[in-house]
Symmetry: C2
Subunit: 384 residues, 2 copies
């Protein structure tokens, strides 16, 4: 394996009834900005539990952070933070609310001009307001990492930044929040977590059996437990296992010391930016194309995925790779996520637009940084 550094100080508070611990994990005297999204927390009881837990604090609320959180919205929150002298951010929502809150945390203390530079130019995040999180949707892994993805509506740009400064101080993971989730959000969460693992696993071998087996452990658990959650939203055990899988999928552990890909995400972000397609749906579209077009480069790991996760043992290498792609596509579709561009009314015109954008950016993606506009065209044409 490669040399690596790994540090993840996020405190995880996991289990039913644990939202009551939010207050005791925030420093006494903090002035809190409670951030949330479209308001589902008012229906599922999470808001009431959180408010009861922080009743001794001075709290300002900022709702309406949208899926694919927008720079424009978040900058309004930054104004509130400054005006109200907020000292602690409490994100109550899914990955979008938390990603947005991370940007607010960094932008509020950014002193080097427009905070958009944190995303567009990877300007360093020297400080950030501390964040606590109550997760209401397992999917992105944002609850145990320092990553954030933000969209600028004006220019249709969806960009990310990573900083240890915006890792939550604590994240409360109560699997009961899953009981009231709509099917589509659960399905998206399953696929999102699945592809997070794949991005850190389906590259090339570097003799890293712990990382490989941990990755396969998460994939197998998502494949087993995900459908149970979809079949019965009140299955607490399945909800808990799904939730812990999604967190473990992107907290840095399985990616430590191994090559990483992330091309599926980079290309998928463009489909969200131009067509508003759900993040997980874009991953389900792009990944099979990458597996097909990069089948030679990824051969050893695709065969290993097929054998250890899908039980694909027979046939030539190419047949096994085809079958592994089929099984992966079949899993996405079995949870209700379509995997072809026409399923989302996307035509070849968008492929041109995306390829032009990558051409203008001038960099290539993937674990060998060899996926540029030409390869992206092949990948997306495979999904027509």
């Amino acid at each position: 394996m490669y040399n690596f550094e790994y540090q993840n100080p996020v405190k995880i508070i996991f289990g039913k009834g644990e939202i009551k611990k939010v207050g005791i994990n925030i420093p006494t005297g903090a002035k809190i900005l409670l951030t949330y999204g479209g308001g589902s927390i008012f229906k599922n009881g999470v808001y009431d539990q959180v408010k009861a837990s922080i009743k001794d604090f001075d709290v300002v609320e900022f709702g309406g952070i949208e899926p694919n959180p927008r720079y424009e919205t978040l900058m309004k929150a930054v104004e509130v933070v400054k005006k109200e002298n907020i000292t602690y951010l409490l994100s109550v929502g899914g990955g979008s609310v938390l990603d947005g809150t991370k940007f607010i945390a960094a932008a509020a203390l950014f002193t080097n001009g427009d905070p958009w530079k944190i995303l567009s130019r990877q300007a360093p995040v020297l400080d950030a307001i501390p964040i606590g999180a109550v997760l209401t949707l397992p999917a992105t892994g944002s609850e145990m990492n320092g990553g954030s993805v933000v969209t600028k509506a004006e220019t249709k740009e969806k960009l990310s930044f990573i900083s240890p400064k915006v890792m939550p101080r604590f994240s409360v993971l109560d699997p009961e929040v899953i009981f009231s989730l709509p099917e589509k959000q659960v399905a998206n969460g399953i696929v999102d977590a699945f592809v997070h693992v794949i991005e850190q696993y389906l590259t090339f071998p570097v003799n890293s059996p712990i990382q490989d087996r941990f990755a396969e452990s998460i994939l197998k658990t998502l494949i087993e437990e995900g459908p149970k959650v979809l079949a019965n939203r009140n299955n607490y055990d399945a909800a808990a296992n799904f939730m812990w899988s999604a967190t473990m999928a992107l907290n840095g552990l399985i990616g430590a010391g191994v090559p990483q890909d992330w091309a599926t995400h980079m290309i998928g972000h463009e489909l969200t930016a131009y067509h508003g397609i759900d993040h997980a749906q874009t991953l389900a579209i792009v990944l099979p194309g990458i597996m097909h077009i990069k089948r030679d480069q990824k051969k050893d790991k695709i065969l290993q995925l097929g054998e250890r996760v899908w039980g694909v043992l027979d046939g030539t290498d190419d047949e096994r790779i085809d079958e592994t792609i089929r099984k992966t596509v079949g899993f996405f579709e079995s949870v209700g996520i379509q995997t072809k561009l026409p399923d989302y009314s996307v035509t070849s015109e968008t492929i041109d637009t995306i390829c032009t954008r990558f051409k203008n950016r001038g960099y290539k993606v993937g674990e060998k940084a060899n996926i540029g506009p030409d390869e992206i065209r092949l990948i997306l044409e495979d999904r027509l």
Copy 2:
């Protein structure tokens, strides 16, 4: 799974050549006590690498921390810490040096009488001197947890304490340190890490597939990579995988949200206290006895271990349990660790002594706290 809290802020710096990063991870101006053991660090080049890295610091050295570090020795280090106004402890050695350094860190700031109470009465550790670590022997997992085991020579007591305050701020894991290790230490390390996993896995099912599969991942990796390290000490990849396995075996992750046993350790500590048997050897002796005597209580997990780790698929449940015990014993013996009491010249007299000691203590051990003097007698008699 059970509700749990999990937080592990230790920074891991992993890979060849990384010892040079020690200095940049210690706060400028710190006055360092460099702790070490019997002096192997002078022969394998680790001492020179560490000293080069901390050349800008004021450093005092304290060597001679023994395997199963002794309270009596450590209290001498505490005197040095106080006299020299030490502000940072740098442990350069294996688990014993690091466990001892953790006790020094806590004892030096203990204000409630004799620091032995931290072990004997689990007196709370309110503060500790910060610790950095350079690991020279993969085994105990101490490099990424807050646990410490200390022995009082005077009373032949081997006791432990756990506190987040003594978690290392950073641990450097350079697998090259394994190149010069004697066979016995490698073998001990393999068995120690293996049994750490078992203590958090071989209990009863609570529907925790991530924790189970991660545990099995570590066991399978130890079984594969351990013998490679023994066969060729200069196999860097095998050394790296062994080292990362040992760290992951006891950093809290696989034990989060699941029942834990630790009876093998508790009983094994007595064999070390009375006979000076190596820690890992005591585990290899005791574990098969526990698997045999607690075969009903642990049935589901022993069968799962047999199936997923050892490929034991055929026969009645009892036959499969017997075969799983045989495979486990066979593995320990294959790396050169004997598993019976007579192999270490221990007779039934010691069994009486140990049972009396547990009787006097008045508590029972194991995941259901139902292993008392009578059960311990059966377990140890099984190992005669």
